[in-house]
């Protein structure tokens, strides 16, 4: 197992993934390899399964009753759906940022420190360092360093979203899943988030779901186009946006539907 992962090119390898909500099938045989320390965008019209696929990668779909997944998803070579898989460990490794910013109704400090604390870090000194580093990495430190004890709900929407990114970074993940992280934000905050993604890709593997085609083109290295639960096309972003192979992809990115 260890040899496989050493110097591996891909952090995530999905093989033939089917997904069901009860009897409704939402994903049909999706196979997709996600490259380490690159940004991969998942695009497609609403209900195409891109968010569902994203949520299979940290097993957040487990929280929905009556769902079932088949196929294989390897993260660093480990099958994350194998029997006895430690979901807590998985989610430390694979962080997530949601569409709507969701800070806890606690102080800014406690929000970022939440993850490290539940994983057993109680040393104040250490926590303070982790919080500072995470906020710096999320490009929020300068704006909040003087009011770490204020309630996080007092921040603006864009700041709240960056706080959520900082909170996710604080547990030290390798992969960061982002589910339309800027769709509820104004253009200025969106730019900040996009710039941030550009910086984070140096250290993290990022998978981002987006409705915004320009955003996918701007921030990602690879793009996967989903349609009706299937992966239609997956390639370098430049290629997808200039010379798509499939007719559906072309129609979608040129705005003919979706």
């Amino acid at each position: 197992m260890q040899e496989q992962t050493a110097g591996a090119e891909y952090t995530v390898e999905a093989k033939n993934v089917d997904f069901f909500y009860g009897k409704v099938q939402a994903l049909f045989g999706v196979s997709l390899n996600i490259k380490i320390r690159h940004v991969t965008a998942l695009i497609g019209p609403s209900g195409c399964g891109k968010s569902t696929f994203l949520r299979t990668l940290n097993r957040m779909n487990d929280t929905i009753r009556n769902t079932r997944v088949s196929g294989e998803i390897l993260i660093n070579g480990e099958d994350i759906y194998k029997e006895g898989m430690n979901v807590v460990k998985l989610r430390r490794q694979v962080g997530m940022v949601f569409q709507k910013s969701n800070p806890f109704p606690k102080s800014i400090f406690d929000n970022v420190a939440y993850g490290p604390r539940i994983h057993g870090q109680h040393d104040q000194q250490q926590l303070a360092e982790i919080v500072e580093k995470s906020l710096v990495d999320a490009a929020l430190w300068d704006e909040v360093k003087d009011r770490l004890n204020d309630n996080a709900l007092g921040l603006s929407g864009g700041q709240q979203q960056r706080l959520c990114i900082a909170r996710a970074l604080a547990v030290g993940p390798e992969i960061l899943l982002m589910d339309e992280p800027a769709s509820a934000l104004d253009p200025k905050s969106t730019t900040k988030i996009e710039d941030l993604i550009g910086e984070l890709r140096e250290k993290y593997t990022i998978v981002i779901v987006t409705h915004n085609m320009q955003q996918a083109a701007r921030v990602s290295d690879y793009t996967a186009f989903f349609y009706e639960g299937s992966l239609v096309e997956f390639d370098r972003t430049k290629k997808i946006f200039t010379k798509p192979k499939a007719k559906q992809t072309e129609d979608y990115i040129t705005g003919r539907f979706g």
Binding site: M60, V88, R91, N102, F104, P105, I118, A168
Partner: protein
């Protein structure tokens, strides 16, 4: 147009009725308690014993009754709060839908049992049990009353706490789970703290219910007006005193007025509890 006005007036009228009724209750309680303020005077209420009928000197101290109510209420809350809050957490967060369907109606049935029936249960089952357990000569004491009242407060506290827990946005739980927290950590570190204002309000309402309860405590607390904090001692609560003595008291006598003073005290206590609950809810209520 005139129809709108009539209906508007009608609605304002019905809505104001409740205010009017509360005011009238205060007014009439005050009127009946009336001259107690001058003769024998409010000072009398702070006497250390309640001996309303005596050949020597009648005494109308509220302290034994207050201590009785306090002990019984404290026992009831210490018993009911952990049970009810944990039950609410279970029903809201852990139970499968089918379990919830079974648990909820039973808790609601508990709310519907008349207190006199619960009193019977206390008298026949609980009191002998406590008598045996502690080797007492009688099982009618504050502990028995408190446990019985705890049972009665369970539905109030469970239902309102559960509502509060259920209304915690799902996004909080998602955020916590996505950070690698277990279900249990999520419940204790995120969901319950976020629901805390609602849970506190539920507890306050439970206290209100317990302090105001009459029949069950009258039946099982032993009814001796002693100043005590001992749970195994018989006590007499304010409500039980009013219920037990109101029937035999000469109307307009000092004793009669004293009973109304108890009523006013009770009303003030429950009123304050409501205010506190409301302030807590407003101040720490969740911003969504």
């Amino acid at each position: 147009m005139w129809k709108d006005k009539v209906i508007h007036l009608l609605l304002v009228g019905t809505a104001s009725t409740s205010i009017l009724i509360v005011l009238l209750i205060f007014l009439f309680l005050g009127k009946e308690a009336g001259s107690f303020i001058f003769e024998p005077g409010l000072k009398e209420l702070f006497d250390r014993s309640w001996i309303p009928v005596s050949f020597v000197r009648e005494r109308f101290g509220l302290l034994p009754l207050l201590s009785g109510s306090a002990v019984v209420t404290a026992i009831a809350m210490v018993t009911t709060v952990p049970i009810s809050v944990l039950a609410a957490v279970y029903i809201a967060e852990v139970a499968r839908p089918t379990e919830r369907e079974i648990l909820k109606p039973f808790i609601e049935i508990l709310a519907g049992i008349p207190s006199v029936v619960l009193g019977f249960f206390g008298l026949i089952v609980l009191a002998p049990l406590i008598k045996e357990l502690f080797g007492l000569s009688s099982g009618l004491n504050a502990l028995t009353g408190g446990i019985l009242l705890a049972l009665m407060a369970v539905p109030t506290v469970v239902t309102i706490s559960e509502d509060a827990i259920m209304s915690v946005p799902f996004s909080y739980k998602n955020a916590s789970l996505a950070l690698g927290a277990s279900e249990l950590q999520t419940i204790w570190k995120v969901t319950v703290p976020a629901a805390l204002p609602g849970i506190i309000a539920a507890i306050m309402l439970g206290v209100g219910r317990v302090i105001g309860e009459t029949m069950a405590v009258l039946m099982v607390t032993g009814n001796s007006a002693l100043i005590t904090l001992n749970p195994l001692s018989p006590v007499r609560t304010m409500t039980a005193t009013i219920a037990a003595e109101m029937g035999e008291v000469p109307i307009g006598s000092v004793h009669y007025q004293a009973l109304f003073c108890i009523g006013i005290t009770l009303l003030i206590i429950t009123f304050l509890l409501n205010v506190v609950a409301r302030v807590v809810l407003n101040k720490y209520g969740m911003k969504k």
